[in-house]
């Protein structure tokens, strides 16, 4: 037991130290994990042989990542980007794989090895590229969108690759492995279908995929509903984990890729109201496991090889970057990625990626790649990722200035049509109206509520809404609060509303927050917590009621409206002063004598505002007033 604690501690502390450092230098978290692995492995020698075992375990992070990729893929979104996804992404993977494989053949590699290498090199780093583009605010640029399509295609392409690579196994390696019994634990896995005839096997495969799709569609809802009724957070985490692990187990049992199964389940659940809840439950596990995976990759880097074959490795790395960038540049022409976007697109995707590591270790396990080649290739993949920040810097310093100079000065900047969504927390009596007006005018909203029945109502009228506790920051993060243009706090729990505003303002100081308050005291609390705009849930409807009462009493409607408006204006003027008084009070009961007195003064002002008429005929209400009688004689 002790040894596990020590090991776990070493891995965790290495990540804790290295990742924030890497992020500070703009290298991204993937590189941070790699560096942490390099330090605890080859450099310091704290960890050794157990990394391979841990790596197999950590690969489950990839399965989870594909589940999350699936969750992000709504069928509608996929459809709208089909041309770029299939055309650009497909051609990129095919051309890169083919030319890398071709080059491999020139170096006298067996064709199966060359193809495997081609596939590995065709992938780019989703983690690094998406993160960097997001950090630099380039996701909505033409280059960003194209890069996303390509990355998405690659992520999906990994699944058939995982199925395909075992077919490329080298016979001599398989034999050697069999005699050495090295791969025992991998190849004698539990497989229920081992003894079945071909047709029964096919039926079993088909029905287990069908089970995932149909079960995901019909069974997940009642199960999650049941889990939600318990209202316990750890149980919903357990349910999410059980789902992913269960599907992975089923797929392994029938001899299919667990990644494929979870990806499918993800796509099936992408439209579910539990999507963000699932994402936020799986996300930390995925992050940690993937991190662990990168650490083990780093720890496995053989510096002996790097230093003894320095020229070869560097040459291969630069060659790989040049090849990938070249193909991307070529593809940018038919797909009309223009100007500086073309270069950004080409340079950003020129590295090999984390899935490259996955495929490398997978290929080695499946005897498609000899160990010596895979060790060198993993150095190339790692180095190409390490160089990615340098490519971004090169783009910003060398290429962008050229295009900026070319652009004529009179040209106005492109309109940013890619506005972030509005997040609405709470869709009860209040939030529902907010959301309906916004949605009716094509404002993209994402709605959360803790009541499943409220969510069902909203979904029935076609409004995107999700089940979940909107005061949970991790849930909001997976829903994209970082990109949100606005946040509407419309939950009716006073305490939690205030806490949510506090937390949001703390984590996203620039995010604009509009909040609903319960009463005057709550209004001040929300304002103190940092809400940009607070509206009392009853104020405007009460004004409306008062106005209507005056009309019912026989007052001219236009006059009644004017009086209501001047009331609101006077009230608004007193708001700041009352708030300051409330804020300044140190007593427990902030509505102290001081405050009450001030409040009464403003009440008097309100009462008089609509009564007092100036001698010359102008009331404080300042609506239209006639000039004095007989004024026309002044002009005669």
């Amino acid at each position: 037991m002790t040894i596990y604690f020590i090991q776990a501690f070493i891995y965790l502390i290495a990540a804790v130290i290295a990742v924030p450092l890497a992020k500070r230098f703009g290298l991204g978290s993937v590189l941070g994990y790699l560096i942490a692995g390099v330090v605890i492995g080859p450099v310091v020698g704290l960890v050794g042989d157990e990394t391979t075992t841990i790596q197999h375990f950590a690969e489950f992070g990839v399965v989870m990542m594909l589940f999350l990729v699936g969750l992000e893929l709504e069928p509608k979104m996929l459809w709208s980007m089909r041309h770029r996804l299939l055309g650009l992404g497909g051609l990129q993977v095919f051309l890169t794989a083919a030319s890398a494989a071709g080059l491999g053949l020139l170096f006298d590699l067996p064709w199966t090895v060359a193809v495997t290498i081609g596939l590995i090199f065709s992938l780019s780093s989703t983690a690094i590229v998406l993160q960097t583009l997001q950090e630099k605010g380039l996701m909505s640029s033409d280059a960003g969108r194209s890069a996303f399509s390509v990355l998405l295609f690659q992520d999906i392409a990994v699944i058939p690759m995982l199925a395909f690579i075992p077919l490329l196994a080298l016979p001599e390696l398989v034999e050697a492995a069999a005699s050495l019994q090295v791969a025992a634990e991998h190849h004698e896995e539990l497989n229920l279908l081992a003894g079945l005839p071909g047709w029964a096997y096919a039926i079993a495969l088909f029905s287990s995929i069908a089970a995932v799709v149909v079960g995901g569609h019909y069974l997940s809802r009642p199960i999650f509903k049941y889990v939600a009724s318990a209202g316990l957070r750890e149980i919903s985490t357990a349910a999410a984990l059980a789902l992913v692990i269960g599907i992975a187990a089923l797929m392994s049992l029938v001899g299919l890729s667990p990644a494929l199964g979870t990806f499918l389940a993800g796509v099936v659940l992408a439209n579910s109201e539990f999507r963000h809840e699932l994402e936020s439950n799986i996300e930390p596990f995925k992050g940690l496991l993937l991190g662990l995976f990168f650490i083990t990759v780093g720890a496995g880097i053989d510096f002996g090889i790097l230093f003894s074959e320095f020229g070869l490795i560097i040459g291969l790395t630069l060659g790989l970057i040049a090849l990938k960038a070249g193909i991307l540049l070529l593809l940018s022409f038919p797909f009309k990625v223009k100007g500086s976007d073309r270069w950004l697109f080409a340079l950003s995707l020129a590295q090999a990626g984390e899935f490259g590591f996955v495929l490398l270790s997978f290929s080695t396990q499946n005897h498609a790649l000899p160990l010596d080649i895979s060790q060198r290739l993993s150095l190339v993949v790692a180095l190409s990722m390490l160089l990615t920040p340098a490519l971004f810097i090169a783009f910003e310093r060398l290429i962008l200035p050229i295009y900026e100079k070319r652009q004529s000065k009179t040209q106005e900047p492109d309109k940013v049509d890619d506005q972030g969504p509005v997040l609405v927390a709470g869709t009860g009596r209040f939030g529902q109206i907010v959301n309906r007006l916004l949605a009716a005018n094509d404002v993209k909203t994402i709605v959360f509520d803790q009541s499943l029945s409220a969510i069902e109502v909203m979904r029935n009228i076609g409004i995107k809404s999700y089940f979940g506790d909107a005061t949970r920051m991790d849930l909001l993060e997976t829903a994209g609060v970082g990109q949100a243009s606005l946040f509407v706090v419309a939950i009716d729990d006073r305490q939690r509303a205030t806490e949510l505003v506090l937390e949001l303002k703390h984590a996203y100081p620039k995010l604009k927050i509009l909040a609903r308050s319960y009463d005057r005291g709550h209004q001040y609390e929300l304002r103190q917590a940092g809400a940009d705009y607070v509206v009392n849930e009853t104020y405007y409807s009460a004004l409306e009621m008062a106005q209507q009462s005056m009309i019912e009493l026989g007052m001219h409607p236009f006059k009644a409206t004017g009086l209501r408006n001047s009331f609101a204006k006077t009230e608004e003027k007193s708001r700041d002063i009352l708030y300051e008084t409330w804020l300044a009070s140190t007593e427990d009961n902030k509505f102290n004598a001081n405050y009450r007195e001030l409040f009464m003064q403003f009440e008097d002002a309100l009462r008089n505002a609509n009564k007092r008429e100036r001698n010359e005929g102008h009331s404080l209400e300042r609506s239209w007033t006639p000039p004095p009688k007989g004024y026309a004689e002044e002009f005669e």
Binding site: E616, P627, P628, Y631, E634
Partner: protein, 207 residues
């Protein structure tokens, strides 16, 4: 000395605007021009009379900028006149707050210039149609200038006339602000548009 310009802009649907919104935006980058989007500031027509009167006091040149609707201003500019130009402020006993300020309209009109003639289908010239505003200026002791107008506004964008108009607009505002504008010459024009070039001089002109 530089003149302070108050630009009161009224367009009820500025997201559809092809001319006025761009004029308003380009005015915002010109020194000495205070730009007020009336429909944005008072979406429910609750015009703050005190704020508006104070603005008037603080400026030397007042411009109404609007698309011409039914031979007059959009509704909020009329509401603005009704509420802000109060007795005792703008006219009448001690109502001298606007005395000697300059006033003109910058407008766009749908019809061609030929339509705004006795023989045209609109029968009256722009100058004639703006007579209520001219008289308002007179009663409030302001000095009225001919309008700065763009005709055929619905086709101006397609015909590529907008940039030239914007350019003239910016030069006019600059000349006004830096007092390189001969008001006497401008006064004699029917429209500032066609002949305002003559009124812009290189040197400062005394007001």
């Amino acid at each position: 000395m530089a003149s302070r310009i108050l630009l009161l802009y009224a367009h009820p649907s500025s997201d559809r605007s092809e001319i006025n919104q761009r004029m308003f935006q380009s005015a915002q980058s010109i020194e000495g021009v205070t730009c007020v989007d009336l429909y944005a500031e008072y979406p429910t027509f609750q015009i703050d009379i005190d704020v508006e009167q104070q603005r008037l006091r603080e400026h030397d040149i007042i411009i109404f900028q609007f698309p011409m609707y039914w031979y007059s201003t959009p509704a909020i500019l009329k509401e603005w006149q009704d509420l802000v130009l109060e007795y005792g402020f703008a006219y009448g006993h001690e109502g001298n707050a606007l005395r000697d300020k300059y006033f003109f309209c910058a407008l766009s009109a749908g019809g061609n210039e030929s339509a705004y003639k006795a023989q045209g289908y609109n029968h009256f010239t722009i100058a004639q149609l703006l007579q209520p505003l001219e008289q308002t200026a007179s009663l409030t002791q302001m000095r009225y200038l001919p309008p700065f107008a763009l005709f055929g506004s619905r086709t101006a964008l397609d015909e590529g006339r907008v940039e030239a108009h914007l350019d003239k607009w910016r030069r006019l505002l600059n000349a006004l602000h830096h007092q390189r504008f001969d008001f006497a010459k401008a006064k004699s024009c029917k429209l500032m548009l066609s002949e305002f070039e003559n009124a812009v001089s290189q040197e400062q002109v005394s007001l």
